[in-house]
């Protein structure tokens, strides 16, 4: 044995051709993790960062102190949102494959995070998402046509052709503009929350970041400021196990759960089953109430799995076994909520099938409408003059000159 130091190089448990192995995952049984008071001191609830809050058990019933006791109607709405998000993602992937859009990123397998959290937050709460939170738009009721028009960069594109597909924003819906640069939104959410507190308002901020992106220094800026000022913010790490081709261990997930990152800063960390709609909802209610009542920030780690490729530019079969998603021990969030509703006697396979067809048709109709406003190649087009707008609030002379130059070239 070599006694000299060597680097530890993290490895995923399985590569293509090998058998998936999720034995590294610590999973608590449903219902066993205690729910502390919302004013608990971070120091007294450290175990929440290591356990896993789960509400849905293997028999599809909801148990334990984190059970949010939602009405069945609300659960049906949630299921509808999750199904719609999934159908939307599938359709948009196909549209990209057919050359209608240039790029797409799916949220398949992790839809419950955005949907449950958005439903648990208040409408005035401000969301600072990553690029894999399209469920926020679905849950807050933005028209899919609007999202599709953005992906098409067409005449109704909210970004006026300036951003790649999926880089949405929604000022009225309180969802911040998505950046291509990872993790920048996390400390910005903290600043937004600080402003709410400075202004004496009740709104809180919530933000989402991937496991891999926690390695960026911005994540640590966020924790420091949130901790120092006890800002009313909910910081969510969506640990879907992969960051493009690198396993979550490359962001340090092998040593301690991401939820435990909060502890060093005195911020409570909660690790939750991200594919358990009820657990995510329950944890979000707890953290939102804590923030709103002035007890400060919470860091939540959602344990989930990125079922699709990173994006349409990615081929995951090059770096992970194809069967991983089937073997994922926390299952499919859609299927688990559906089975829970069926167990409650509030849903059936027939109703599911009917709703599925309705949503498929709705998404197709939205797509047809969106296409009628143009695509990058066909139909009506945005005016290239738009390119020079909004660089500044008021266009300076040099941009006016450049705009005129382009106009002359095009005439």
């Amino acid at each position: 044995m070599n006694s000299k130091s060597r680097l530890h190089i993290p490895h995923p448990p399985a590569r293509p051709g090998e058998k998936p192995d999720f034995s590294y995952l610590q999973i608590s049984p449903a219902g066993v993790v205690a729910r502390p008071d919302v004013n608990a001191h971070a120091r007294d609830i450290e175990s929440l960062a290591y356990d896993m809050v789960r509400v849905l058990d293997d028999d599809h019933s909801a148990i334990g102190p984190w059970h949010p006791h939602l009405d069945p109607q609300d659960l049906q709405v949630a299921l509808r949102h999750i199904m719609l998000t999934r159908i939307f993602d599938d359709r948009m992937l196909r549209n990209q494959r057919q050359g209608k859009t240039t790029f797409y990123m799916k949220s398949t397998g992790e839809e419950a995070v955005s949907i449950a959290q958005c439903m648990a937050l208040e409408p005035g709460d401000m969301c600072f998402p990553s690029y894999r939170n399209q469920g926020l738009y679905v849950a807050r009721g933005r028209s899919l046509v609007d999202l599709m028009c953005q992906c098409l960069s067409n005449t109704r594109d909210m970004c006026k052709g300036r951003q790649m597909p999926i880089m949405y924003h929604w000022r009225e819906g309180r969802i911040f503009s998505i950046s291509g640069n990872l993790t920048t939104q996390v400390p910005q959410a903290v600043g937004w929350a600080m402003a709410a507190a400075i202004k004496g308002e009740d709104d809180i901020a919530a933000t989402w970041v991937g496991d891999g992106s926690t390695a960026e220094p911005d994540f640590h800026h966020a924790l420091t400021f949130a901790s120092v000022y006890q800002a009313p913010v909910l910081i969510n790490v969506v640990n879907n196990q992969w960051a493009i081709s690198t396993f979550q261990a490359f962001a340090g997930g092998e040593r301690r759960p991401f939820a435990a990152r909060g502890l060093g800063y005195g911020i409570p960390g909660i690790r939750v089953d991200g594919n358990d709609f009820l657990a995510v909802y329950g944890v979000t209610r707890w953290a939102a109430e804590r923030a709103r009542k002035g007890y400060g920030p919470t860091l939540v780690e959602h344990v989930t799995y990125r079922a699709s490729g990173h994006s349409t530019s990615d081929d995951p079969s090059r770096y992970r076994p194809k069967e991983e998603w089937d073997d994922w021990p926390l299952g499919d969030p859609l299927e688990r909520l559906k089975q829970h509703l069926i167990a409650l006697g509030e849903w059936s396979e027939d109703r599911h099938e009917t709703l599925n067809e309705e949503l498929e048709k709705h998404v197709m109709d939205c797509w047809k409408e969106a296409m009628s406003y143009g695509t990058l190649t066909d139909g009506p087009k945005l005016d290239p003059d738009e390119m020079f707008e909004d660089v500044f609030a008021e266009m300076p002379e040099h941009l006016k000159k450049q705009r005129a130059h382009l106009k002359k070239l095009r005439s």
Binding site: L7, I9, T102, N181, E216, I244, T246, F388, L399, Q402
Partner: protein, 338 residues
């Protein structure tokens, strides 16, 4: 000789340097097992092991800072920043540390880091996968700045960069990874097999840092350009039927002033073409240099053809990209009789 595209040429350069020099290490996001999102490091981890080709956490500042530390401790790191648009989290480590280490320690410490990063647009990457930030780095004292325009130069320059004891920021125009691109997006893509500079020696060779390349000799006007725009400029000169001397700058720092000025003194006219935005872009430095050195030889004001001073828009990619038409327009302007 073998036919290589730019990705294979860069891969070959790193392969050779990993084999020749045990101090060379490669680090970056997705560069190891996966071989990089553009596949430039494909197969290198398998060949040289996980201590030579390292996947990194997603932290550009961390990549840069640890590369500096490794460089100080005798290694020769080649750090990949996945897109030039994501280099800014590493900015402080580059500007305040990497660039100035030798100076502030009076030569006692230095870090021979090469930073490879894909730049430029034309791939529908929108504002965060299309930028050309070379001018930001040419304003920093203590880093060399390089951008090749073809596989042959890419390999030779990357080997020089890795061997260089000074830090080098090595920009790779991603639009021409797989083939030369003359700015006409409607034409079918052509591979590097169609281009003489796609012929690349399989073994070790260098292209010196600090030397421009006269891509085509001419007498009417000098075109100063680099990266993807070399190919656009060639096509534009042909289209405008102008006998242009096209100089591929290749290395912005240090700049080959002699090649530039002797050409402009000969032609008396100068057009500068780059994809980066205009205001304070590298073209401004070239303009100033030509004006200072060649003023009495100039027969027309120097023209610049650049990206507009806006972020790179997704939908208006080809209205934004300074294509052949705009280069022809500038060539005609400088050719107008006084």
């Amino acid at each position: 000789m073998a036919n290589m595209n730019m990705i294979q040429a860069l891969n070959s350069a790193m392969d050779i340097m990993l084999a020749r020099d045990p101090a060379v290490v490669i680090m970056g996001e997705d560069v190891g097992y996966f071989g990089g999102v553009f596949r430039c490091t494909d197969g290198l981890q398998r060949k040289y092991g996980e201590h030579r080709v390292l996947d990194s956490p997603i932290s550009e500042g961390g990549i840069m800072a640890t590369a500096i530390g490794m460089g100080v401790n005798g290694l020769r790191p080649v750090a990949e920043i996945q897109f030039a648009d994501y280099i800014y989290p590493a900015f402080d480590q580059i500007v305040s540390e990497l660039a100035r280490l030798r100076y502030r320690s009076a030569g006692d410490f230095w870090a021979p880091v090469t930073v490879r990063t894909p730049c430029g647009g034309g791939i529908r990457g929108g504002q965060t996968h299309s930028q050309s930030p070379e001018g930001i780095f040419t304003h920093v004292c203590g880093v060399k700045v390089v951008m090749p325009s073809n596989p042959y130069d890419a390999k030779g320059l990357l080997i020089s960069a890795i061997e260089d004891d000074d830090p080098v920021i090595f920009f790779e125009p991603k639009r021409i990874y797989n083939g030369p691109f003359d700015g006409d997006a409607n034409k079918p893509a052509v591979p590097w097999t169609t281009h003489p500079k796609g012929d690349v020696p399989e073994g070790y060779y260098t292209v010196p840092i600090g030397k421009s390349d006269i891509v085509s000799a001419g007498t009417d006007v000098t075109i100063l350009t680099y990266g993807t725009m070399v190919h656009v400029a060639e096509a534009a000169a042909q289209r405008g039927n102008i006998d242009a001397e096209i100089i591929d700058i290749r290395t912005m720092i240090p700049l080959d002033v002699d090649t530039i000025t002797s050409s402009v003194k000969k032609t008396g006219r100068c057009v500068i073409v780059h994809e980066a935005t205009r205001f304070s872009g590298f073209g401004a430095e070239l303009t100033a240099t030509v004006q200072e050195e060649c003023f009495w030889h100039l027969e027309a004001p120097i023209q610049r053809v650049t990206g507009w001073d806006t972020p790179y828009p997704h939908a208006f990619e080809w209205e934004y990209f300074p294509g052949q038409e705009r280069v022809v327009e500038a060539l005609e302007l400088v050719m107008e009789p006084a």
